[in-house]
């Protein structure tokens, strides 16, 4: 079977449009993962075991179970309890929750790398905990972990095709839908692969730039 360029060029605009959904899901998921991950990281450092323990268990549990099942869970189970959100939002929530457990670990590494003396200095000035976090620890902890967070952004981007299983018309879902109409899988799937490759390479290049910038600054 030959790769048909005509068909491929017909598909390309459709798929590029679908890639906007992929990008939106990625960015939405990442925004959630960044916020939720920070919350989890802070909870895990809480002096109160009632906060620390559940946060740790949540991280361990979500990290150890497949994103695919989590997507199904959110899509099929939540509506049974009255939580009705659009399909794309289900996907974003699943991605965000899953990757929050990864970003939480990244934040944790960043926070632990801040020297103890910084805390002690804050306490010596009798600053409240909130201000120590907000103005002393986090500003030092976050910049070094940007590249690691960037890696998870790229990883999440590559997991968005999973959203096709609940009917989100992102890249893969759209390609499969097209393929099911024409019975040609070669061109759509190859194009999806190439588009992913292109995005990933560009993202990797940007990330490397950011890393260099950060290295220059410090």
């Amino acid at each position: 079977m030959m790769f048909q360029l005509d068909y491929a060029s017909e598909l390309l605009p459709i798929l590029l449009k679908a890639s906007l959904v992929t990008l939106a899901a990625t960015l939405g998921g990442m925004a959630l993962a960044l916020v939720l991950g920070l919350a989890l990281a802070l909870l895990r450092r809480s002096p109160h075991a009632v906060l620390r323990r559940p946060a740790s268990m949540f991280v361990e549990f979500v990290r150890s179970t497949p994103l695919l099942i989590q997507i199904f869970f959110i899509y099929y189970v939540l509506p049974l309890y009255g939580v009705r959100i659009p399909t794309v939002a289900c996907g974003i929530v699943a991605l965000g929750l899953h990757y929050a457990t990864y970003t939480a670990e990244v934040y944790r590494a960043g926070i632990e790398a801040v020297p103890r003396g910084q805390w002690e200095a804050g306490r010596a000035l009798s600053l409240p905990a909130y201000r120590i976090w907000r103005h002393i620890v986090l500003p030092q902890a976050l910049p070094p972990v940007v590249p690691a967070l960037g890696n998870y952004l790229i990883a999440m981007f590559k997991e968005t095709p999973l959203l096709a299983v609940i009917g989100v018309h992102e890249l893969l879902g759209t390609a499969l839908q097209e393929a099911s109409q024409t019975y040609r899988y070669y061109e759509p799937l190859t194009l999806v692969g190439l588009i992913f490759l292109a995005f990933s390479l560009v993202a990797a290049l940007i990330l490397r730039r950011v890393e260099v910038r950060l290295a220059d600054r410090s």
Binding site: M1, E60, F61, R63, S64, T65, P66, L67, L68, I69, Q70, F72, F73, Y76, V77, L80, K158, E159, T160, P161, L162, A164, V165, L171, L172, L176, A179, Y185, Y186, L189, T190, V192, G193, F196, L197, S200, L201, A204
Partner: protein, 224 residues
């Protein structure tokens, strides 16, 4: 409440069948992926330009695209160009290729992290390069590879769930089928998550034990 109990009892055996398949896929894939990681990791450090370039293409191709896209490509497109593989072969091959590409970076990093002086000592003892690699570099790099490979193993367990989408009746496949046929959606998915967690967590604990025994930082003397 007897209904809850009986439903769970009724569901468990079928889910466990699926779980056995999931574990089997993991255990079949992991050694292949590790071997590919080792080969690709070494190939990237090869002095033969073509070998190194081929390894880079392989690694970037599989790391740069999505596992699910790779899986569907292998499943739908390979037969069209005359390569007929069973879903099992397709699934395991794709997983192994994907994880091998990530693993090759671990191998490469660990090899490059062995202090330069170890190589120089081997060279002034007139060891041929293959021996330097086999008897000096790899034994020292392996402990550093253990923790990241352990993480990859947990990722692999999770990734096997994608094979349910190419008709393999693993845990995810059985679970989805049961959710539809029994209508016990919440229960099935909760059980599914718990079983996956049990598998992954068991592996995590096993890997940690292994690390304590042989990992970086463990006293070599302790192994005597």
């Amino acid at each position: 409440m007897e209904t809850l109990f009986t439903t769970v009892i009724a569901l468990i055996p079928r889910l466990l069948d699926g779980a056995v398949t999931t574990v089997a896929i993991t255990l079949l894939t992991a050694p292949v992926a590790a071997l590919l990681a080792l080969i690709a990791g070494l190939a990237r450090l090869s002095h033969v330009k073509a070998v190194a370039a081929a390894a880079v293409v392989y690694v970037e191709l599989f790391r740069g695209t999505s596992l699910l896209v790779q899986l569907f490509f292998m499943f739908y497109v390979l037969p069209l160009i005359g390569i007929e593989l069973s879903p099992w072969t397709t699934g395991i091959a794709t997983l192994a290729l994907n994880f091998g590409s990530y693993g090759s970076e671990i191998v490469r990093g660990a090899l490059l992290a062995v202090p330069r002086g170890q190589i120089e000592a081997a060279l002034v003892l007139h060891m041929p390069p293959s021996q330097v690699l086999r008897r000096v570099l790899l034994p020292q790099a392996l402990p550093a590879m253990l923790p990241p490979f352990g993480n990859q193993l947990v990722e692999l367990v999770k990734a096997t769930s994608l094979l349910s989408l190419i008709t393999i009746s693993d845990l995810a496949f059985v679970g989805n089928a049961l959710a539809q046929t029994t209508g016990r959606v919440t229960m099935v998915y909760v059980l599914l998550l718990l079983i996956y967690f049990a598998i992954a967590y068991t592996l995590t604990l096993a890997v940690r034990a292994l690390e304590r025994r042989y990992g970086a930082g463990a006293t070599v003397a302790g192994a005597r």
